[in-house]
Amino acid sequence: MIHPAWGPFLFDTSAESWLARTPLAPAQEWFRRYTELFPVHISAVTVLERTRGYALLWRSESGERRGQIESARIAYLSTLGQVWPVDTTIAVVAAEIMALAPQPPTPAKRSHKFSESRQERLTRWRCDTMIAATALVTRMPLVHNNAGDFEAIRSAVEIDPARFPGLGPLELARCGGLV
């Protein structure tokens, strides 16, 4: 268990939505307590991923549904807590991670009706490296819902610590492990 008071934490894109939507009472209570104590820290990259999602959904719909999607987008942007920009330091650290691990460690998402392209998978991987770099630079543990990607980044940082002077290790906390 990770006490909310041990924060602040940086939240990955899928962790943010998982905690906001979870039907699990202990996780709901954890997030409620957390938001009493700290702002929800996220990377600007999460804002990019999320609002790109809203924009794509909006473009694929019409009429009343578009209005609902736009209202949801406005609600999201109005709810933002602490958003960390990708500054020079974070960009340099993310570049080191991308050089150490240029390819995504897990395959593209696929199911019988859903297929993520290799290009999209690579984009998502690069977003993850920028989010991990933000956690490293801001020295916040990263709450995530994507062990495959972030454990690989943690390992990459541990393999070559000289390229990350004064930073690391990357502290990770899975959403499911918070309570």
Partner: protein, 90 residues
Amino acid sequence: MKQKSQTASRKRRTTLTLPVDALGQAERIARAKHVNLSVVVAEALASFLQVEKAREHSAQVLRGYREAFQGFSAEEMMILDGIIPETRKR
């Protein structure tokens, strides 16, 4: 400057009806700290108001997130999480 400090410490006299037990505890704390009862009650109220403010803020954040994510299917939530299927891009 003088006006600013007067504003910061503005006070108003009032009459409260408090539970005997709580009042007794507050008086004991006031005696132990060598301050008057008003100081103890003001500190307790300030702490309570801070907690209430945090609760209200938390409720507002959670309400905002509910509005941001409600009414989306599992596939749409994946898109909102940055996982974009090929068909959506066309």
